[in-house]
């Protein structure tokens, strides 16, 4: 009996150590694979090969993935991996050079220290609007900016104060570190601190939407790219509807740039990929996926100066 157990144990350990070994060799070969990529870039062949590693913003990830799928049709030897993980991760990774491109909802100077941020080159690929959304049962369609601020800072706690039914307002936030929340706070709430201790939090925009749909009296905020159906109701602010036409003209001001950062000037194949995303061929996909075109913007914003 004891021998049998020992045999099984040894077997299990053996398999474990073998899988560990094969795991290692896999990692080694993939890091070697990135070597030819840079040499191919130097020769700048017509059809690109090698690999592009991208990480960062989960809001931008679906669009970049779509771009990667389209771009690979004409460059079949190229491998592009797009990971989410958050804007902070993307900026950190591109700053450490562990990825070629870091996606971010916000300017690098808002997350990284000044010297790290200055090494990065910003490629703005599109804009994204953020709308205040409410449960469809709430009979409110428009609030003033001040009312919106009062709701999220906890001064207004019942829908009847803004012309709706007598129902408690339930705030559902994204996490404090989220790019969408940063945009909404900065431009929707004029930088006022949201109330803490009475608001729920949801990590994921998709789940947040489901949450707003199910929770009576709820209010939250979502990127326009999540508002392609009518499951939640979006609020007009001061009579201005959250649409890209209003974003382009500057009437609706809760929006932000979607950035793709490279460490130093972009080199092939990343450069060609970025050119493709910014080209007019890709514009239709951008608008279909619920993002806005950078080229149509009549208003501009500058990167804030880096703190410390």
């Amino acid at each position: 009996m004891k021998k049998l157990i020992a045999a099984i144990m040894a077997g299990a350990l053996l398999t474990a150590s073998f899988t560990a070994c094969s795991g290692n060799s896999g990692a080694a070969s993939s890091s070697q694979a990135s070597q030819p990529a840079s040499s191919a870039a130097a020769s700048s062949a017509a059809s690109l090969s090698g690999s592009i590693n991208i990480s960062g913003s989960s809001a931008l990830q679906p669009l970049v993935q779509a771009a990667a799928d389209e771009f690979k049709k004409t460059n079949s030897n190229l491998s592009i991996t797009v990971n989410a993980g958050g804007s902070g991760t993307g900026l950190q990774n591109v700053s450490d050079k562990t990825v070629d491109i870091g996606n971010s909802d916000i300017f690098a100077t808002e997350k990284l220290s000044a010297d790290k941020a200055s090494a990065l080159v910003d490629h703005i690929v599109c804009v994204v609007g953020v709308a205040a959304v409410i449960n469809p049962q709430v009979n409110v369609t428009n609030v003033t900016k001040q009312q919106l601020i009062d709701i999220f800072t906890g001064k207004i706690t019942n829908w009847k104060s803004v012309g709706g039914q007598d129902q408690k307002i339930v705030i559902i936030n994204r996490p404090k570190s989220s790019g969408t929340r940063t945009l909404f706070k900065q431009f929707g709430l004029d930088g006022k601190d949201e109330v803490t201790g009475t608001a729920l939090t949801e990590d994921n925009s998709g789940l947040l939407k489901q949450n707003v749909e199910q929770t009576a009296g709820s209010i939250a905020y979502l990127a326009f790219s999540y508002l392609t159906d009518n499951k939640v109701k979006s609020l007009s602010i001061d009579g201005v509807a959250p649409t890209y036409d209003n974003v382009y003209t500057g009437k609706y001001n809760i929006w932000g740039y979607e950035h793709m950062y490279t460490n130093g000037e972009a080199k092939d194949p990343a450069k060609s990929f970025l050119d493709f995303i910014k080209s007019s061929d890709f514009e239709k996909t951008i608008t279909d996926k619920g993002y806005g075109l950078y080229s149509k913007m009549t208003v501009k914003r500058d990167a804030p100066a880096a703190k410390s």
Binding site: A10, S17, G88, S177, Q214
Partner: protein
């Protein structure tokens, strides 16, 4: 000849030794790494341990220094939900363990044991999702609340998750009580209930307690399932039906969006270190209970 002796004597031993050393090294490395990153809050950012553990003011800075890193709400949330889950799960686990060992061993071995084993294998996201779609709306309806995200929802989901852990360890403990104890007890004229209460349970107690502590450790470290149903409100819960936040939920919510070296990121590492220290404490507790049990015998 020599070759085969080498194979027989040394090959297996070498592989096992290397594997064993590798595991020890890995554990130490993870511990050292967490300690290195987690201590930055107190060394580089100059916050006190008392602030981290006992202040509820959580507002760490994304760049530079000067935020507040009070993690008391998260710590309290983790403790409360885990202990509640334990209170719910332990009676059921104990009853199930006794049923499948003492009362109906045949049924237990054939159906209950496999069922419990299947329970262990269900991924936590499934528990969380079921909790989110069934339990949370159910609680909202039953108690006439705007939403069902609550401490209670988290505790119930966790209780279901740790039930199989406690049950299988407790069942093993009951099974390993020597048959002579039972025979002696019956010989003195005790009923089955008296036998279980006076002889089997006391003898199996160290093993049962080990199961309970293991369950508690699992409950404390579980992230996904709890995060989906507790509502993640940054406040101490007013009652069992109000939402709160715990350590693991806060970690998963913010880790991707903060950058290494920032005060915020450091504070999250400190919370990870805290989780490691707590599970370390649980393991020490299990060892201590085991020792006490051994001394008794």
């Amino acid at each position: 000849m020599r070759n085969s002796k080498f194979k027989k004597e040394y090959l297996g031993r070498t592989i096992v030794t290397i594997a064993g050393l590798f595991i020890i090294l890995l554990t130490l490395a993870i511990g050292a790494f967490l300690f290195y990153r987690g201590s930055a809050t107190f060394t580089a950012d100059h916050h006190s341990i008392a602030e981290f553990l006992f202040s509820a003011d959580w507002n760490p800075a994304e760049q530079g220094r000067g935020g507040k890193v009070g993690a008391a709400i998260f710590f309290f949330g983790s403790v409360l939900i885990s202990v509640l889950a334990l209170l719910i799960a332990t009676p059921f686990s104990l009853a199930a363990a006794l049923f499948m060992t003492e009362i109906s061993p045949k049924l237990g071995r054939k159906f209950l044991q496999p069922a419990v084993e299947i329970f262990v294998g269900i991924p936590s996201v499934v528990y969380g999702w079921v909790g989110l779609t069934i339990l949370v709306p159910f609680l909202a309806k039953t108690f006439h609340l705007p939403y069902g995200y609550s401490v209670l929802a988290g505790a119930i989901v966790l209780a279901v998750m740790i039930f199989p852990t406690i049950t299988s360890v407790a069942a093993d403990a009951v099974r390993s009580v020597p048959q002579e104890y039972r025979e002696a007890s019956y010989g003195l004229g005790s009923t089955r209930w008296q036998l279980i209460r006076k002889a089997v349970l006391p003898a199996a107690m160290p093993g049962i307690l080990t199961g309970v502590v293991l369950g508690l450790a699992r409950a404390f470290g579980e992230a996904l399932a709890v995060a989906m149903v507790i509502g993640k409100m940054q406040a101490f819960p007013k009652n069992l039906l109000s939402p709160t936040m715990n350590l693991t939920a806060e970690l998963t919510a913010d880790m991707g969006n903060t950058t290494a070296g920032s005060e915020w990121n450091n504070a999250l590492w400190s919370m990870a270190l805290l989780l490691l220290l707590i599970s370390f404490l649980f393991i020490l507790l299990i060892r201590l209970i085991g020792k006490m049990g051994a001394e008794k015998k």
